[in-house]
Symmetry: C2
Subunit: 630 residues, 2 copies
């Protein structure tokens, strides 16, 4: 059936379901959603369950939009009239592209009202579809820029979403039935994640990362014919925002991709932030950058965000659902349902099966699951990490010792994930008096990354959310934290009182941490605490190994007299024990497990251990292989 | 280096090697050969070892051609003057495309002369390069047509060979090193053989067959992106001429392929013959034929033939060598040497490790071998075939019994391979008086296939060649054999004396065998002897199962009263024991063996048995998978 006939048929079905008196003027696919245009948004809003009924009967994600939108200024007035003042509305964004108004409020619950009554009232009054978000306690410039940019390209984006909508719902013709996965990177290695899922109808790329510190083989094999031409891809799906999973997504657009990139909302924002930073870093090292900020914008223009648990058509025969992976903000296990019950395959991305201060453990239960591609960073039989509690105790001890002797603590950390974990641990340490009250300076992208965390409280775990909303104690807003936002302040920190400095980069491969090391390195009262893995070839690893004089440019040298400590246990990855545990708890038990994203010996060790213990067929693929699933 | 520079460099090297007095006017790649054009073909011919020296030093296949060719009529006269009359020259073909003259003679040795002295004399006198072949004792219209056709398209073909020559020797740029094999058919099934070898530089397709009796899934997966666009293929390589390996090669040209198809000379001729017959058969069953005879011509125009043992560049980083596979005339194991000593991989095609009346056992020794793709038709642990000698005894007995009671014997057989084996067995049976002297009628394509066999005696085994040439006893020319070439004669055979009829098709799915069955089926004195495998769903299988009345169209019925016998042991495939034996004798021992071309349980059984007995890594791939070799 051609798409126009399909839409006509859907319109007829909808007309049969909606009560008379509601006029459906148009029905259109936009991205993965089915949009119903109506002249009677008020009557629609009156029928509390109508959209749910439509979604269930049509098996589509339904959005209702009025044909004519009220003037934003007048609409804003009406919203403020309807919503009680104690909701604390801080901002309103009207988006004519989607007919939505984003209502930012201190208390979103008050805007929504009991059972959504206030929200429906708003819809009735103004036509615009209200979306309510909590006013972020720290404003993120990334989020703001992305929202502003998306509004500025609304016409293009509308056309794009319609094109994608039609493509997803296109007619299929193939008589064949098969499912293949081609490994384009990240096999028997860490980095350059890229996996191609293909069926006779569709092609989907999962992740497209770079390999850190490896410029020669830093790119996944995206030149092989399986993935060409790039515009034959139906979708790119991102598991999370770390650069080894997302850095080269903008490159796909440079090479001709024009389709959607699906991710959770935090992954989109963090990715853009980290990609722009990645360009800065690469630019400093070489005069060849793989793409420019223009391609990052193109990526954002083509992004489609999905929340955890939302089952979404992304191709005629593929449904995608994201599930919490517990690794960093917005990190997801990407679950694909193929065909009408034909097969189910999931990619864990990076995941943590241990509960952390920020996140719940990774989801291990799925409606169906036949094959799992599983990360193996700590897949070796000796890769046992200390308990989080023990790691924190050791951190407290190191910090206390340093402060006591009048020294300063430098903690190099990744801006996203590790920094926030350490911040929360230190904040509690101060609150519970395990360390003295001390200023904790944040330098580099950490503040901005933290702001993005506070923009998406629904992606944090229950305890932290409760602490923030019920108890009114947002640990990220604690007085101890001070953003270093000028060279002057940095100078003051360096010459000032004993303190803790959390700063980037995490492996001492550049960034503000170098300034601190240069200034504070010679004083043996200070301490450098590594909280994350230091890769071979990085300065961090060299210092761990015992380097004590670091040449810097022509004449300068960093002298390392400060104390060096390493505190394992803050990792965002599951260790070996948790990986095995995860497999044991998988619901349902998959038929096949592929161990990826780990050094060669670790992926092989994990695969053979899983097979021996659980008798599940395992593979430890090489790059450039294709496995047939069905 | 661009190709022009490369050729210039080669020309300089050649000038250093050839004695002064010989002028090299031009040097050019044509197909896989390096052609040296000279004004002094006579002086070149005088230097007996010069071409060998050049080939060794330049590591290229060298051909020397004069710039100016003598008028064919005068050249013909001179050849007849130089060559002694007892050579028995039967024909001369002048081919201006290649500057070659094909000399067909009863005694090729006399034309060549001792150590090639006569041949060099010819070259000196006429400029044309002489190629000597034996006058085929039975003229093949296929071979004649192909030669005539190739002469008619000589200009196109010259341009084509030059294009391919340049492509083979193109500059390579990739820094990556890998080798992959993608399975496009023939895995866990018999039929539609098609395997893609790919490196960062090159792509080669091995075989492109159809799946007999299966129209729904009869085509290999040649639509997947790995192989698109088809013109990105560097080469197609054919192991042998059976339709499950070669039927869809012309389809590749219809879909845009424009490159070479490498095979042995007999495989080219038999393929063309069988493809044209295939079109006839399909046309009778359906109105959709996959291609027309035009595409068969296009295939022939793009064919490049190689003899066993000739190491040939077919891509910048791939060398191909064919080795005898013992299965049918010209059947080959295709051995690929990748890169400069990087890897070696071979595809057995169908092979027989038992010596037969026609062929030597398959080659099991290679200069190097890391991976082997191996057929598994009889790979199941119970797939033991009787010894050839026992099979023949049983055949003699069945024939004698039938003739004694005044009956006729119908032997349905494939035109290529099985028919000739049975012919030779029966001829010896008569000669050695194991069966009475009797007429053996050949109906269908068998005669033409036999003619092609006699055109290429160098592809038969030593015993048969000796029998033909030393003892002057060509069994194919025995008086017993009579070709049925008219409906009248067929009528006479049916109503005549007791006799043996060998006829197609081998599984009773059409062809003249149907006429014989209709006429001779009701008489219980007659016998139907199956000498080959009868696939599920064929009439042959049904009769084996016990069908005794066969509806034919609206009203007719074939009544089966004749005796049914099955004589196993004439197969062109290795049985289970020989397959295991072959692996044991492989030199060198490969690292990996892939079992293909067999029912699912047989490929798996063989793979696991090889692993258990020899501890070689084995895989039983599925279609549509990609394996990384290195």
């Amino acid at each position: 059936m051609v798409i126009e006939d399909k839409l006509q048929e859907l319109k007829e079905q909808i007309n049969k379901i909606v009560p008379s008196g509601i006029t459906i003027s148009d029905v259109e696919f936009e991205g993965p959603e089915l949009v119903i245009y109506t002249d009677d948004p008020k009557q629609f809003a009156d029928q509390a369950d109508l959209i749910k009924v439509l979604a269930r009967d049509l098996r589509k994600r339904i959005v209702v939009r009025p044909n004519i939108l009220e003037d934003p200024e007048r609409a804003a007035q009406e919203i403020r009239t309807v919503v009680p003042e104690n909701a604390g509305i801080s901002d309103l964004f009207f988006d004519p592209e989607t007919g939505e108004v984003l209502i930012e409020a201190e208390k979103p619950g008050v805007v929504i009202g009991k059972n959504g009554v206030t929200l429906r009232e708003i819809t009735k009054q103004i036509g615009w579809t209200p979306k309510v978000v909590r006013t972020p306690p720290i404003e993120s410039s990334t989020v703001k820029q992305i929202r502003t940019f998306l509004r500025s390209v609304k016409d293009e984006r509308k056309a794009f979403l319609r094109k994608i909508g039609h493509r997803i719902h296109r007619e299929t013709t193939s008589k064949d039935q098969w499912l293949r996965v081609t490994t384009l990177g990240c096999c028997r290695e860490v980095g350059r994640a890229a996996f191609l899922i293909s069926t006779p109808e569709s092609k989907v790329l999962v992740d497209c990362g770079e390999k850190p510190g490896n410029t020669a083989n830093g790119t996944p094999y995206i030149y092989v014919p399986e993935i060409y031409p790039l515009d034959s891809l139906d979708a790119v799906v991102l598991t999370h925002a770390h650069l080894d999973h997302c850095a080269l997504v903008p490159l796909l657009f440079k090479y001709g991709y024009e389709g959607p990139v699906y991710s959770t909302p935090p992954t989109r924002d963090l990715s853009a932030m980290l990609q722009l930073d990645y360009l800065d870093v690469v630019r400093k090292e070489t005069d060849k950058i793989p793409y420019t900020s223009n391609e990052v914008k193109t990526y954002i223009k083509h992004s489609i965000t999905l929340n955890y648990g939302s089952v979404t058509d992304i191709a005629p025969d593929i449904k995608l659902t994201f599930h919490n992976a517990g690794h960093i903000l917005g990190s997801a296990i990407a679950h694909f349902h193929i065909g009408e019950g034909l097969y189910n395959i999931a990619f864990t991305g990076d995941f943590n099966y241990q509960k952390t201060r920020l996140f719940s453990p990774a989801v291990s239960s799925f409606p169906r699951l036949e094959a799992l591609f599983m990360e193996s960073t700590y897949g070796g039989s000796n890769d046992i990490q200390p308990q989080r509690r023990d790691a924190e105790e050791r951190l407290y001890e190191a910090v206390s010792t340093t402060l006591k002797r009048g020294g300063k603590v430098i903690i190099p950390a990744f801006a996203v994930g590790r920094s926030q974990e350490v911040m929360l641990a230190l904040e509690e340490g101060i609150r519970k008096k395990k360390i003295p009250p001390v200023k904790i300076y944040l330098d580099g992208m950490i503040r901005e990354a933290t702001a993005i965390h506070t923009t998406y409280p629904e992606y944090l775990n229950n305890d932290l959310r409760n602490q923030i909303f019920r108890e009114g104690l947002n640990p990220f807003l604690a007085d101890a934290f001070v953003q270093v936002d000028s060279p002057d302040l940095r100078e003051q920190v360096i010459s000032g009182e004993p303190c803790v400095i959390i700063t980037t980069s995490g492996m001492l491969s550049g960034g503000p941490v170098m300034e601190y090391l240069k200034a504070l390195g010679p004083d043996e009262r200070n301490m450098l605490i590594f909280v994350g893995y230091q890769a071979d070839g990085t300065l961090g690893r060299r210092i761990q190994k015992g380097w004590r004089e670091i040449p810097l440019g022509w004449r300068e040298t960093i002298v390392i007299n400060l104390e060096i400590a390493t505190t394992d246990g803050f990792s965002g990855h599951s260790d070996r024990k948790q990986l095995m545990n995860y497999v044991a708890h998988l619901q349902p038990r998959p038929e096949k497990i592929f161990t990826i994203h780990g050094d060669e010996n670790k992926t092989i060790d994990l695969a053979s251990s899983i097979y021996k213990r659980y008798r599940i067929e395992t593979h430890s693929p090489m790059n450039l292989e294709t496995y047939r699933m069905i």
